[in-house]
């Protein structure tokens, strides 16, 4: 079997200027900080980041906002990171951040849809709002729905609580969030793991993400220090 365990630097080697990257977690709980740190170190620019939110300055996706590496952010909420508004409103084109806001449930479902080979889905969320602009409205069973499209990325950076050497992964507590769907919707999937165990150590009934989705495993992810 192919060895998937590598350093953060090796794991993100394929990320280039302009890459699209899904990042797991919710307000950085469930975000792989070691992979974010390596990406800041690498300095790839003009990234499209897909994440529930913008983290906070100094944590999670917030680090990539601060470093100016993000060109486009697709997220559901950016209010807890004031830097996002600053960069959205700047006149300096090199600093300019485009922010595409998507309802949280729609974002999760769009990522799932890509991973599950669906061409889209009908959601009642956003009907009659600016979220509906440019989207097809389809009436089904007497109710209006928006047709939402699947969403994919070149890379996914996930945080696993326990990962075996094949990549089978579990997530503790509320670190699960977007990680399982993102594992299915990116070309190259990297897990920053808090704990790496032998294959077979995780009960087959409790694995959340199958190792077939995982291309690289990076150990050493640590719980956030309060």
């Amino acid at each position: 079997m192919k060895n998937k365990i590598m350093t953060a630097e090796e794991a993100i080697a394929g990320i280039k200027d302009g890459s699209s990257i899904m990042v797991g977690g919710f307000m950085a709980c469930g975000t792989p900080e070691i992979l974010i740190d390596a990406l800041v170190e690498k300095g790839a620019k003009d990234l499209t980041i897909i994440c529930n939110d913008a983290g906070v300055p100094g944590r999670g996706v917030g680090k990539l906002i601060t470093s100016g590496q993000v060109k486009t952010l697709i997220a559901s909420h950016v209010g807890l990171n004031p830097e996002v508004a600053q960069r959205m409103n700047t006149e300096d084109p090199r600093e300019k951040l485009e922010c595409i806001l998507v309802p949280q449930g729609t974002l999760a479902e769009r990522i799932r849809a890509y991973g599950a080979g669906l061409g889209g889905f009908l959601t009642p969320t956003g009907v009659g709002t600016i979220v509906a602009e440019g989207k097809q409205v389809i009436n089904a069973g007497g109710k209006d729905y928006l047709l939402e499209e699947p969403l994919k990325a070149d890379f996914a950076l996930l945080r696993g609580s326990v990962t075996d050497k094949f990549g089978n992964t579990t997530y503790n507590g509320t670190t699960r969030t977007f990680n399982p769907m993102m594992a299915t919707a990116a070309d190259y999937v990297i897990v920053g793991a808090c704990e790496i165990v032998e294959i077979g150590d995780i009960d087959p009934n409790n694995v959340v993400t199958s190792g077939i989705f995982v291309d690289a495993i990076v150990g050493g992810e640590k719980p956030w220090q309060i």
Binding site: G79, E109, T125, T129, T177, Q225
Partner: protein, 217 residues
Amino acid sequence: MADLKARIATRVAKELKDGDVVNLGIGLPTKVANYLPGDVHIILQSENGIMGMGPAAEEGKEDVDIINAGAQYVTINIGAMYFDSATSFGIIRGGHVDATVLGALQVDKHGNLANWIVPGKMVSGMGGAMDLVVGAKKVIISMLHTQKGAHKILDECTLPYTAIKVVDMIVTEMGVMEVTDEGIVLKELHPDFTLDEIKEATGCRLIISPDLKPMED
């Protein structure tokens, strides 16, 4: 102000029934959990992946892997479970949440809600709010009746909608209102205010319920 918020939270709490699955928004709505009658136990859903959320974690005892949707460290109750965000919003959109309590920037007589964006000013994002108000069986808006004197309950929202025709009930420090096909019906008026005062503080016609009651603290 603190008292007014307690008053609102107390009144909202009476709308919740034992066993209800409830999602509480950040801020004032979160306080509702503190005012439940002793025989009412609700199940709190947190959209970042908890069914059965408990109180905030004690300082020094936080588990960094367990937060609520407001990014605060929380605990879980016995019988809780965790899930991913697609599952979480399946629960929300699928009508499995009995009630959601949120704040609002504006509500109108059609039950339209605006609470996520002030163009050119507040860039925050809708988070899970659009899904919650569309999916929950009952949408309760808990807020101060006006914003520094400006009307928040209107004929038509002027801010971008969070969703259309979703609000069931509005609870403010002045009273309790229900959104009906005919418009907004005042069901309870707080004794601190007169009918004229609440009418003046409201930007649309208030239908006075034939059995108007006093709102209790």
